[in-house]
């Protein structure tokens, strides 16, 4: 089974701990179509289980409202046990906080600036 897939706006891989890593590519401003493509691609390596997910938004430049709502929807949440949002830049910090405030995530979701801390937290949500 493949453990890495790519879309024009993201790279997704499944690590040995069963955590899905999604890295938003640099300078990306995701639309709804981009978000849907990312999730569709991720599901090809997801397997038939719910998993914790690490979303690396550090290089991200923007995300439109429809994309944000899609990521926060039940359709996406049904596949995840928890989501760690990895932020770094001011812009990514803002996008992530906006996501948390505006979508009221359906699974435990937390912001991190350290990848190690994010992964440690996610390991507690492996099914």
């Amino acid at each position: 089974m493949l453990n890495e897939v790519r879309t024009p706006t993201s790279v997704i891989f499944l690590d040995p701990d069963g955590i899905i890593h999604t890295t938003m590519l640099a300078e990306v401003e995701q639309s709804l179509a981009d978000a849907q493509e990312t999730v569709r691609a991720a599901l090809t390596i997801w397997g038939n289980v719910v998993r914790p997910a690490l979303i690396d938004m550090r290089a991200m430049k923007g995300q439109d409202r429809d994309a944000r709502q899609f990521y926060g929807s039940a359709e996406v949440a049904q596949h995840t046990t928890a989501v760690a949002l990895l932020v770094g830049s001011r812009v990514s910090m803002l996008i992530a906080n906006f996501f948390l405030a505006m979508t009221s995530p359906l699974v435990p979701t937390q912001l991190f600036t350290s990848e190690q801390e994010a992964l440690a937290w996610l390991k507690g949500f492996r099914s």
Partner: protein, 261 residues
């Protein structure tokens, strides 16, 4: 830092003073030229030029910040006027202005979405209220087994006229009514449109074998109808609803007796 202790003013050549004067006046493009006549003078000119370059860069940074601040302010001013068409400029960088611009644009998107959903909700409420009002505006009251009364109140426009026609026809069919009384006591203005509505409704109802009465024709309305040339001769008309109901009851009793014989 240039100190008068290390370099007396009177010892400085005129070109250096001129450059310093321009820098002091805010012209950070000013530069001195090395002469090669003295290491101290050339080092001084070199230092002044470096300082001018730094000041020029700082000035450019401040101007850019002011420009971007103005840009954000413009978006906010548009928002203050509830105009959501303007978006902040966001560059590829990660400055405070980029973050502010990103946040502002996201807020605008949320406001637009909120406005759209609110407009949709209002539209739904208006439609629902219109349906209720329409239903209430054309009440069809059965006052006996075979007599229906529809008191009309207020103005009658094209849409309401059509609804009157539909309600009367539905009511006649549902109640097997023998008589329908259209009471226009409460109709503010009886014009050609209202008159035509009544006539068309009457014609349609008569095709179902039901007679139509129009009641509540006030003297001024009668005068208007005559002036408009509306022909109500094929309809039974009465000045009050009570008279219409009495006539209908009498007619129906007579018809029933006749049918029993």
């Amino acid at each position: 830092m240039i100190s008068s202790n290390t370099l007396p003013l009177e010892a400085q050549p005129a070109p250096i003073l001129e450059v310093l004067a321009r820098l002091g006046a805010g012209d950070f493009t000013a530069r001195g030229e090395t002469t090669g006549q003295g290491a101290t003078d050339d080092a001084l000119i070199h230092g002044i030029n470096q300082l001018a370059t730094i000041l020029q860069q700082q000035q450019a940074t401040i101007q850019e910040a002011e420009q971007r601040g103005e840009d954000l302010l413009k978006v906010m001013l548009h928002l203050a006027r509830l105009d959501y068409t303007k978006r902040a400029t966001v560059t590829a960088g990660d400055s405070v202005f980029d973050a502010l611009g990103t946040g502002l644009n996201m807020l605008v998107d949320e406001l637009v979405a909120g406005q759209v959903s609110q407009a949709r909700l209002q539209e739904e409420i208006i439609q629902s209220q219109a349906a209720v009002i329409q239903e209430l505006s054309t009440p069809l009251i059965p006052i006996s087994n075979d007599i229906l009364v529809m008191p009309l109140i207020g103005n009658i426009d094209t849409a309401r006229a059509q609804h009157v026609m539909e309600r009367v026809l539905e009511g006649v069919a549902a109640h097997h009514a023998e008589t329908v009384i259209l009471d226009i006591t409460g109709v503010a203005v009886v014009d050609t449109q209202v008159a035509n509505t009544l006539l068309r409704a009457a014609q349609a109802v008569q095709l179902l074998g039901t007679q139509v009465m129009v009641t509540g024709i006030r003297p001024e309305v009668a005068q208007t109808l005559v002036n408009l040339g509306v022909d109500f001769r094929r309809l039974q008309t009465w000045s009050t609803m009570q008279m219409g109901i009495a006539a209908a009851l009498q007619h129906n009793t007579h018809t029933t007796r006749f049918a029993r014989r």
